[in-house]
């Protein structure tokens, strides 16, 4: 499914030369929506943690799919939607920026019967303290996407996903266990 862009263009040109210039005639938007919306929403909710935002982004992704299906053959609507949705989520992370200042640990109430229980660490806040791209790559990998799919969603070369992911996993753990680094001042 993810192909080097050069080849895709050539193949599409070849197809267009032979086929009538019309929209993808077998694309039934309603059916696709019913089939794909639940998974799409679930994915966006996982990525953003915000239901209202997830719904907005899902709608956006779906709108783009309808437009795209008008222009070209969308072979795999689910994969297409996931890729676009992941990209939208990634853009959202970039917009949010990094929350290095925020307190990421919330202590559970001191429990008289179990004083050794450690503080509950807020996973999402740790994620928010990561670089947006690292955060996207980390989350996408841990919801089952391949390196190639991740590369497509965040606009990286596939052969740099390994490095990014290794760094992201290490940073995430570091933040989780030791807190975010203090904001660095650039002189």
């Amino acid at each position: 499914m993810p192909m080097p862009r050069g080849d895709t263009t050539l193949i599409d040109d070849a197809r267009r030369a032979d086929a009538p210039r019309s929209a993808q005639t077998d694309f039934d938007a309603g059916a696709v929506f019913r089939a794909e919306q639940p998974a799409l929403l679930r994915h966006l909710l996982y990525m953003t943690g915000d239901r209202a935002l997830a719904e907005d982004l899902a709608q956006e992704a779906f709108g783009r799919l309808v437009q795209a299906a008008d222009m070209e053959d969308v072979r795999n609507p689910r994969a297409w939607l996931m890729k676009v949705a992941s990209n939208l989520a990634y853009n959202h992370f970039r917009g949010e920026g990094r929350r290095t200042e925020r307190e990421i640990r919330t202590a559970a109430d001191g429990d008289a019967l179990a004083p050794d229980i450690d503080a509950v660490v807020d996973v999402r806040r740790c994620l928010e303290a990561l670089d947006p791209r690292d955060r996207a790559v980390l989350m996408l990998r841990h919801s089952g996407f391949s390196y190639a799919e991740i590369a497509d969603s965040v606009g990286l070369a596939a052969n740099s996903i390994g490095t990014t992911l290794a760094r992201a996993q290490r940073r995430f753990r570091d933040i989780y266990e030791n807190g975010p680094a203090p904001a660095r001042r650039v002189i």
Partner: protein, 384 residues
């Protein structure tokens, strides 16, 4: 020439091109530095997987809701099941894994009155506990937020507890316990052994404070007065855990079985923990209070009340529908299975399986990245 982390992770995740994979594999066989780096990468991967699993939406079988943070000892990697459950729970080795949540202390069968005060586990049974149940309990409890000072409910004394288990040899661990350590047959891989020394927690409840809290939640049954200031003793015996690091089975590559990700399997064993109720306290009265806690969802209350054999039963919450009671070679056991992430391209990664059982007074558990079938086979090989 050594490889960078990025390339090693590609290898670990099964994302290398075939020729490259062969080259990395060959190199790993001879390079200790890269092999060590690989272990750290896998450990980080497991850590992130466990943490992110908690973000998966609620209609999926839910992962344990809290991932404990423990300071990482420099250079020491934490076993996968520890990443998942945290040392607190694993150290209790399934025996007391959710003992505090089980509500099902039961007296040892039919002896003199004072022996009835000793609660031990003889039978393990599942109780279905979904994320929705936990939410409901959480919501009900949150109504009391700000009104209750939990520290005022009682005090606790720990004797012999250690911050984390110590690493040791199989021989030394065997000497520390009075039962035979049984290891699963057919697990290839490196192995580390840990021993958690026995520990006792003595706790005393302040009845007035507790009853005030119960009343706040609308409980009609209160704790009997004679509980006040009396010590309950919770004894956790020595717990042995054996952690295996196994080269993964093929993530879809029949030509290269060793190329998949590293997997971790944990085996634990311990005698049953013991709860001793103080003199003059009626354990059945305590049970009444617990079963009638008003913030318990009905389905939980029904299950608790429906445990037909209050004698010797310990309930293990299973999250969602992934846990069930099974029998292996006639021995009742509990199995819990958690599947891999639900992405469109899951790379053939396995989920986790856990089997817990109680045989001849020893509670045993095997848990790790394996299929249900493998877990049962290993468990069976550990049974005599």
């Amino acid at each position: 020439m050594c490889y960078e982390d990025g390339k090693l992770l590609e290898y670990l995740d099964g994302e290398c091109a075939p020729e490259e994979r062969q080259a990395v594999k060959a190199h790993l066989a001879t390079c200790a530095d890269c092999a060590a780096a690989l272990v750290v990468l896998e450990s980080d991967r497991q850590f992130a997987a466990a943490a992110l699993a908690s973000l998966q939406p609620k209609d999926a079988p839910c992962a344990p809701p809290v991932v404990e943070a423990t300071p990482a000892v420099a250079g020491r990697r934490r076993p996968a099941v520890v990443e998942r459950f945290g040392w607190g729970r694993v150290a209790a080795a399934a025996a007391a894994l959710v003992f505090a949540a089980s509500f099902a202390f039961a007296p040892v069968r039919g002896l003199a009155a004072d022996v009835l005060r000793i609660f031990r586990v003889q039978k393990i049974q599942t109780i279905s506990l979904t994320q929705a149940d936990m939410d409901r309990i959480g919501e009900a409890l949150s109504k009391g937020e700000g009104k209750i000072d939990l520290a005022s409910l009682g005090e606790i004394d720990l004797v012999g507890s250690q911050p984390s288990p110590e690493e040791t040899t199989l021989e030394a661990a065997q000497k520390a316990v009075d039962f035979e350590l049984a290891l699963p047959k057919g697990i290839e891989g490196t192995r580390t052994v840990q021993l958690q020394k026995p520990m006792t927690a003595a706790f005393k409840l302040k009845v007035d404070a507790v009853n005030q809290m119960l009343e706040l939640y609308g409980s009609e049954k209160l704790l009997p007065r004679e509980v006040d200031g009396k010590a309950f003793t919770f004894k956790v015996p020595a717990i042995v855990t054996v952690n295996y690091e196994v080269p993964g089975s093929a993530a879809g590559d029949p030509d290269d079985p060793g190329a998949g990700p590293m997997e971790f399997v944990m085996v634990g064993a311990a005698r049953s923990p013991e709860l001793v109720v103080p003199d003059g306290v009626d354990p059945l009265a305590l049970r009444e209070v617990i079963v009638n806690l008003p913030f318990l969802p009905d389905n939980i209350r029904r299950q608790l009340a429906g445990v037909d054999d209050w004698q010797n039963t310990m309930l293990i919450p299973t999250y969602g529908t992934n846990g069930r009671d099974i029998t292996i070679k006639g021995v009742p056991a509990v199995i819990m299975v958690e599947n891999a992430g639900a992405g469109p391209a899951s790379q053939g990664v396995q989920g986790y399986a856990t089997v817990i059982w109680n045989q001849d007074g020893v509670i045993r558990v095997i848990s790790g990245s394996m299929t249900e079938k493998q877990a049962i086979a290993y468990a069976e090989s550990m049974m005599r």
